[in-house]
Amino acid sequence: MLRKEMPEPAHRQAHRHTAVVRATHWLAALCFLALLVSGLEIVLSHPRFYWGEAGNVTTPALFSLPVPASRATVPTGYGFVLPDQNGWSRSLHFEAAWAVVFTGLFYVAAGLYTRHFRNNLLPAGAGAYNLAQRLTYLFVIFVAFPLAIWTGLAMSPAVASVLPQAVSAWGGQESARTIHFFLTLFLVAFLAIHLIMITRAGFGPLVRAMITGRTQNKERS
């Protein structure tokens, strides 16, 4: 509150993003890329989705992806089996998940401390973003990512043995997996629109601003 009333010092006005925002942005982007690639490889093991607690090749699928599987035991209607890349995919998926969790926790803690959310992301703030941007960013940070982490953990037998409510809240392990997939689709759609908007608003200057923190365009800062 206090900080908003105070005029920014002159040497700060040229900065569009703080160091924390820049570092966590690129770390999260790298993690998301790793999660997306490894998640795609994992889903190829069994490109069928179910609802409820149980689902396997003997139960009817809610829907299935139009791709061949990387397991010979999963019938897909295609005549061939893709190479199985589940081993490293799983390790990379979990490693990137840990990294994005730590990155996210640091970002949220720093954002609360520096009032980044209040000033730049909450609809009443006075920052550079419009209402649609603010709501989308807030949704991605506080709804989509946490839910993706929760549904991911709900697929873990270890977590389910300690906290079965984390699974049953979604209606079962297979429901959690299906929601995890839809959250991925949402985040991919967000990334696509994010990149389109960045391109339309000036790709070079905006990416430079997210790397160095400086912007030449005074109106944008």
């Binding site: 396997n56 090749v57 003997t58 035991t73 990379l92 979990f94 490693e95 840990w98």
Partner: protein, 138 residues
């Protein structure tokens, strides 16, 4: 913001030193309590170690998720339902097949292996679908 001052340098150095020593202490403690997986030395070692340690810390007092009896599946699922061929029906007619696995891992003397058991039961191909099903159900 990016001006390097002595104060920033000292503060950053202290934070880095504290972080590094904190990590070293955490790694030593984790190793003492058996929280480091044996294959931690590869590219995914950091993530695998975190997952391994988190699972062991979480599941100190739990083994597996418990389900109500109503959740028991109506259809058997290991490698799918049993094969519906003459060889398997012949085997099934002999009654339930029980193979007791000794803890040492050696096969019981009566049935040297499920495959030899299946072979003696009249299955021509030891690697056919019926014997695979036997192995997974035994």
């Amino acid at each position: 913001m990016s001006d390097i001052t002595r104060r920033r340098l000292v503060r950053g150095g202290l934070a880095a030193a504290a972080g590094a020593s904190g990590l070293a202490v955490a790694a030593r403690l984790a190793d003492r309590y058996g929280l480091i997986p044996p294959d931690h030395g590869n590219l995914y070692g950091a993530g695998d170690s975190l997952t391994y340690a988190a699972q062991r810390l979480l599941t100190r007092h739990s083994m597996a998720r418990e389900f109500p009896r109503s959740s028991i599946s109506k259809t058997p699922f290991v490698n799918g339902p049993p094969p519906n061929d003459e060889a398997f029906r012949k085997l099934q007619a002999r009654g339930p097949l029980l193979i007791l696995w000794p803890i040492s891992g050696a096969f019981p003397r009566a049935a040297r292996s499920p495959i030899s058991h299946a072979r003696r039961a009249g299955l021509t191909s030891p690697s056919g679908p019926a014997s695979r099903w036997l192995i997974s159900s035994a």
